[in-house]
Amino acid sequence: MSDAIITFKNVSKTYILYKNDQARFKALFIKPKNPKTNKALNNVSFEITRGESVGIVGDNGAGKSTLLKMITGVAFPDEGDIIVDGKVAALLELTAGFSLEMTGRENIYLKGYILGLEDEYIKEIEENIIDFAELGDYIDQPVRTYSSGMKMRLGFAINVNIEPDVLVVDEALAVGDASFKRKCKDKIKEIISSGTTVLYVSHSAESVREICPRSIYLRKGTVIFDGPTDETLQVYQDYKESVKKKIESAKKK
């Protein structure tokens, strides 16, 4: 289908693990010979169509964060191609990129600029953001005076209000108090129903099932299964149990 918004074509990413600082220094000038490496992603290919909600499941170190970093444009693949056709908002590092000495309002503009938005457009959504973040008069105070909850709220408000084409959500996200958390969840659901593509990362099977009809299961940098969420989760579950059994049988010996 030509309506793909995110395309991964045989993407691989290898991290080089330098033995020590000298090795790092040397690597600046000479290519290291047989360095220790960690293959974070291995020949990953998939396509996500516009408006689809896709869950990404896998254990720690499966390559989930690397994958998301590549979609948001922070990290780059060693091999293969990534095409992201649209504006990406990531609910990953909400407070990243804030300038502490500038006011909340100035930071809205700054963040908007970073995301490639125009002044007029930011002006339009400014009030929505301020309303959503519930900062009151603090919006004209330097961000350095904010509590960590307030910073998170502002970051969240900016990211969800720019009408992204792709929204990347990490489930481990916890924003503010219970009532604000509910507001966030509702907002995410609203965004999904408005037809935005959502990538949802999680360890927990239940929340993925709730939100995404399709899921991708990663293990050690490889796509093990890509299909309907129920089937993906079944494969993931089976693998976890087989590992458990192995450990148990090893203990018995």
Binding site: Y15, I16, D21, Q22, R24, F25, A27, L28, K69, T72, G73, V74, A75, F76, V88, L92, E93, A96, G97, S99, L100, E101, M102, E106, Y109, L110, Y113, I114
Partner: protein, 282 residues
């Protein structure tokens, strides 16, 4: 590939100014005299050097003789001579040291959000340029005072050459940081190396003594000409003291321009080579 730095800057001008302003505020906010600190440090340094040379060593009295080659010799006040040469040095020193550290200290823009990384070097450099221009204005005020008290005209057409040297100063050390910043981000040893050679570089440059000294043997003469810091220290003196056009000493100009081209190309090469690896190592 070759133009990635330029692409990253395209359409980002407004943000660069906003961020440069923010950088200045960040540096001086919270201090009682605020931006005046940007003057106190250089003023004290200038006083110390003047004290050491004029009072301590007594090497430089009033009527300090400067020979700028081509049978032109000047008798100038040592303090004025040093002042004009050391003002670009403050910018150079900050640009080299801070420029190398910038990517490491702004790592959140590299590892957390998508950001045109090379513009970090531009806006931090720009905030240093603001401070530099402020210092130049103070120095210019002093030079007008110096000229008037010595019976000279307060202004000179040669002063306008500042608008040739200053942008070149900014661009040269920006292009240098395209190499040094990614390399320092990669290896802390590289950063330490730069920091530790900087105080030595000061004494290898013609800031406290005349790099045009005609008594220098040819080898040392070319060693001096190869140092781009001399080009700027002498350039500022061309503007404000020597009344000499930047095109007059062609050897110096050509050597500098060749070096500038080399630093520029090397900067693009190093930046492109290391840019995509930065998020992994920071």
């Amino acid at each position: 590939m070759f133009t990635s730095i330029f692409q990253e800057h395209k359409g980002f001008g407004k943000q660069i100014f906003l961020l440069a302003k923010n950088e200045l505020i960040k540096t001086y906010k919270g201090a009682v005299i605020g931006p005046l600190w940007s003057v106190v440090k250089p003023a004290f340094t200038i006083f110390v050097y003047w004290f050491a040379f004029s009072v301590g060593i007594k090497a430089a009295k009033a009527g300090f003789k400067v020979d700028i080659g081509a049978s032109k010799a000047f008798s100038v006040d040592f303090f004025a001579w040093m002042f004009v040469g050391i003002v670009p040095w403050f910018f150079i020193q900050d640009s080299i040291i801070q420029g190398a550290k910038t990517l490491r200290t702004n790592r959140q823009f590299i590892t957390k959000v998508k950001f045109p990384v090379s513009t970090i070097l531009t806006y931090t450099g720009l905030s240093r340029l603001f401070v530099h221009v402020f210092l130049v204005l103070l120095m210019y005020a002093y030079m007008i005072f110096y000229r008037v008290t010595n019976g000279m005209a307060p202004f000179s057409w040669y002063d306008l050459q500042f608008f040739f040297y200053c942008p070149l100063l900014f661009l040269f050390f920006l292009a240098l940081s395209w190499s040094t910043a990614p390399m320092s981000a990669f290896s802390k040893d590289f950063e330490s190396l730069i920091v530790s050679i900087m105080s030595g570089v000061f004494w290898l440059s013609g800031i406290m003594y005349n790099s045009y000294n005609p008594d220098f043997p040819t080898g040392i003469k070319y060693f001096m000409l190869a140092n781009p810091i001399n080009f700027f220290a002498n350039g500022y003196r061309n503007c404000f003291l020597y009344n000499r056009g930047f095109w007059v000493y062609k050897t110096e100009l050509v050597i500098f321009l060749v070096e500038f081209a080399a630093v520029f190309l090397l900067g693009i090469y190093n930046y492109n080579r290391l840019r995509k690896k930065l998020p992994d190592v920071l």
